[in-house]
């Protein structure tokens, strides 16, 4: 008698983020996490392929779909030794699909309208990119918002950067004119742009102090927009992004940041920088796996499934030897 009596696995069906339910944007409710893909190319990028990122991220996320599969027990963070109760995950996480491709103006307008609608319903938009050139549109859709950024290129002096800037020097050698202008505007006080460069060498250290700094920076009267770029990671861990970083963070650090940000009420989080068509370091696309794994901590924190790393326990057996 064959040992495997069950049918072969099924991979067909709607490809949604973590196999979540699909919804129309009008049905998004308060407290929901609404996934939205922006499959657009950035024609100014050095390589084509950013439009493939939303699909790549969804495909990778299916790996974590089992977290809400009743066949399995609850997931446990093996490092924290802590159970994660995921009841309700698939009621509050939903996938709206991708924005339709159109002209550049139409893309910006559609994204702005979608973000306004999701935010207006009291939900958090999880935007799957691609290129980061639409980030400004998201900011425009969230008036007077604060932007917290992991990786990517610095845009504004009032933003909070949780990772070193891209290949910048204390002399602002790589900053754009607009960024230099931002820096001048904040002259006379310790600007966040300056702070970010100070953090450039402490990406993996003293996170607790930086989290305190984040709390002080955060103004809860304003919407919060989180930008999560693949370049926050040490490039040797993924090699999939167009803008490599050789002094980036490891997964654990990024996970802690996203978990902390997930404690706030966030209007939108935007994933950028992934180019699945880049050769990377193998057929297994490590970059998208890194992003999806890290994003999971944000999703859990938003939904109240947060992991308390401080209460780390060790195996009973481990401790007894």
């Amino acid at each position: 008698m064959p040992l495997r009596s069950a049918p072969l696995p099924r991979m067909a069906g709607h490809l949604s983020y973590m196999r979540s339910q699909t919804k129309a944007i009008s049905h998004v409710g308060p407290g929901d996490l609404a996934v939205l893909g922006i499959p657009f190319e950035d024609t100014s990028a050095p390589y084509a392929g950013q439009s493939l990122a939303p699909r790549a991220l969804r495909e990778t996320s299916v790996y974590f779909g089992w977290h809400a599969n009743p066949q399995f027990s609850h997931p446990v963070d093996i490092d924290a030794r802590q159970d994660i109760q995921t009841d309700g995950l698939h009621e509050r996480l939903c996938d709206l699909g991708d924005l339709s491709k159109g002209t550049d103006d139409a893309n910006h307008a559609a994204l702005k309208e979608a973000i306004q609608q999701i935010s207006g319903n009291g939900a958090c938009a999880v935007i799957l990119g691609g290129s980061d050139h639409l980030a400004k549109t998201v900011q425009n859709a969230l008036p007077d918002c604060q932007t917290a950024q992991l990786g990517g290129i610095a845009r504004g002096a009032q933003d909070f950067y949780m990772a070193p800037l891209m290949n910048t020097t204390p002399g602002n050698a790589m900053l754009s004119n607009a960024q230099r202008s931002d820096a001048r505007l904040s002259n006379g006080k310790l600007s966040n742009a300056k702070l970010s460069r100070d953090r450039a060498l402490s990406c993996n250290s003293n996170i607790a102090a930086q989290l305190v700094e984040l709390s002080q920076w955060r103004d809860t009267s304003k919407p919060l927009f989180v930008r999560f770029d693949l370049s926050v990671f040490e490039t040797s861990l993924s090699a999939l992004c167009d803008q490599p970083r050789l002094d980036g963070c490891d997964l654990d650090t990024v996970t802690q940041w996203l978990s902390a940000l997930g404690q706030f009420e966030v209007s939108a989080i935007m994933l950028t920088g992934l180019n699945p068509s880049r050769p990377g370091m193998g057929v297994v696309k490590v970059g998208q796996r890194l992003m999806v794994t890290a994003l999971l901590s944000f999703i859990y924190a938003q939904l109240g499934f947060g992991i308390d790393h401080s209460s780390k326990q060790t195996s009973k057996e481990n401790a007894s030897i």
């Binding site: 066949q71 027990s73 609850h74 040490e234 193998g282 481990n318």
Partner: protein
């Protein structure tokens, strides 16, 4: 008039690679204390990324190429002050087990028959995966062979892995697949979960599986434990736990415990996993352990065109087989 060509062609012998460039040998001819290699080129029991069916061949090629860089008596290991030896007597390659597509039972019995025969002969079966399910039939044969060779003997078990593989069932794949191999091994008659240890577990695991292991006395070390406590201490504790009341050790090496940034050519990658140096140090910690059998699994060459995955795995074999493949430097040699 027809001319008959009678030119003699010698038969092709030993086409392809053997592990460590060792000799081919029938399972029935393997003798005690030898390491007998069994290929398990099957990935029918993996649930996602395939390609490990090419693993045994890749390991044979990589170890042969590495061996060629360490010629007889001329390769000095500064870590141990030892010289390498050729694989002409301590290791023999018994070829691949017969894999029957879509018939897990037939494949299981074919692999188990080879490792059982090797164990009865007093040899050490070294099984090359294949996906991690194949670890179960390899250990099944070892367990059967041990029961016949030493009926009262018991064995401990260490699994270096990014995952527990302790599920009872995995969705549509049923009860025998790459997520259930450790559970199936725990059900064998001459092992107890109290003597089972996992090293290198990363990320999120199934809470029920973890609780089941720990409630039964099994021991789990995460990748973070390895980072924090160090490889030497972890493997000391692991070996001590696994060998309590046991006579031999079965070791299962799943290469996916290594961080995917270093090793992408495997089906189920992990992040924040252990580094190559840590992995090698862990295996060094077992080099003198009373190995009864072992396997190395989840090498998937199609997933890593750079080929470095198979060479990382080959180096793992060099490490764990150190006491077989090296000898101390003699006084004469040292005096040169």
């Amino acid at each position: 008039m027809t001319v008959v060509n009678t030119t003699f062609h010698s038969p092709l012998i030993q086409p392809g690679y053997r592990l460590f460039d060792g000799p081919l040998c029938d399972v029935a001819d393997v003798t005690a204390e030898q390491v007998g290699v069994v290929g398990m080129p099957s990935d029918w029991t993996h649930s996602s990324r395939l390609g490990t069916r090419f693993g045994p061949d890749a390991l044979r090629r990589a170890t042969t190429l590495l061996q060629s860089m360490r010629p007889t008596g001329a390769s000095f290991d500064p870590d141990t002050d030892c010289l390498s030896m050729p694989a002409n007597n301590w290791l023999v390659d018994c070829g691949d087990a017969t894999i029957t597509a879509n018939d897990v039972d037939a494949t299981t019995q074919a692999i188990a028959a080879m490792t059982e025969a090797l164990t009865i002969a007093g040899a050490i079966p070294l099984a090359l995966g294949g996906d991690h399910y194949n670890s179960f039939p390899a250990c099944l044969g070892y367990s059967r062979g041990l029961a016949k060779r030493a009926p009262k003997a018991r064995f401990g078990y260490i699994q270096v892995d990014g995952h527990l593989d302790f599920s009872d069932r995995l969705g549509a794949w049923g009860s025998h697949n790459h997520a259930t191999n450790a559970r199936r091994i725990s059900e064998l008659p001459n092992i107890d979960v109290r003597n089972m240890v996992w090293v290198g577990i990363a990320g999120w695991v199934d809470g029920g599986d973890l609780a089941s292991i720990e409630e039964q006395g099994g021991l789990v070390f995460s990748a973070n434990d390895v980072h924090e406590k160090g490889t030497e201490e972890i493997m000391r504790q692991a070996l001590e736990h696994a060998m309590q009341g046991c006579d031999e050790l079965y070791l299962s090496i799943d290469i996916d415990a290594m961080d995917a940034g270093y090793l992408p050519g495997t089906g189920s990658i992990v992040h924040s996993g252990i580094t190559p140096r840590q992995y090698y140090d862990l295996l060094d910690g077992l080099a003198e352990a009373p190995l009864g059998g072992l396997d190395i699994v989840e090498v998937s060459p199609p997933l890593d065109p750079s080929e470095r995955t198979e060479f990382l795995a080959a180096e793992m074999l060099f490490r764990i087989l150190r006491r077989f493949r090296t000898r101390p430097v003699s006084e004469t040699e040292a005096g040169r």
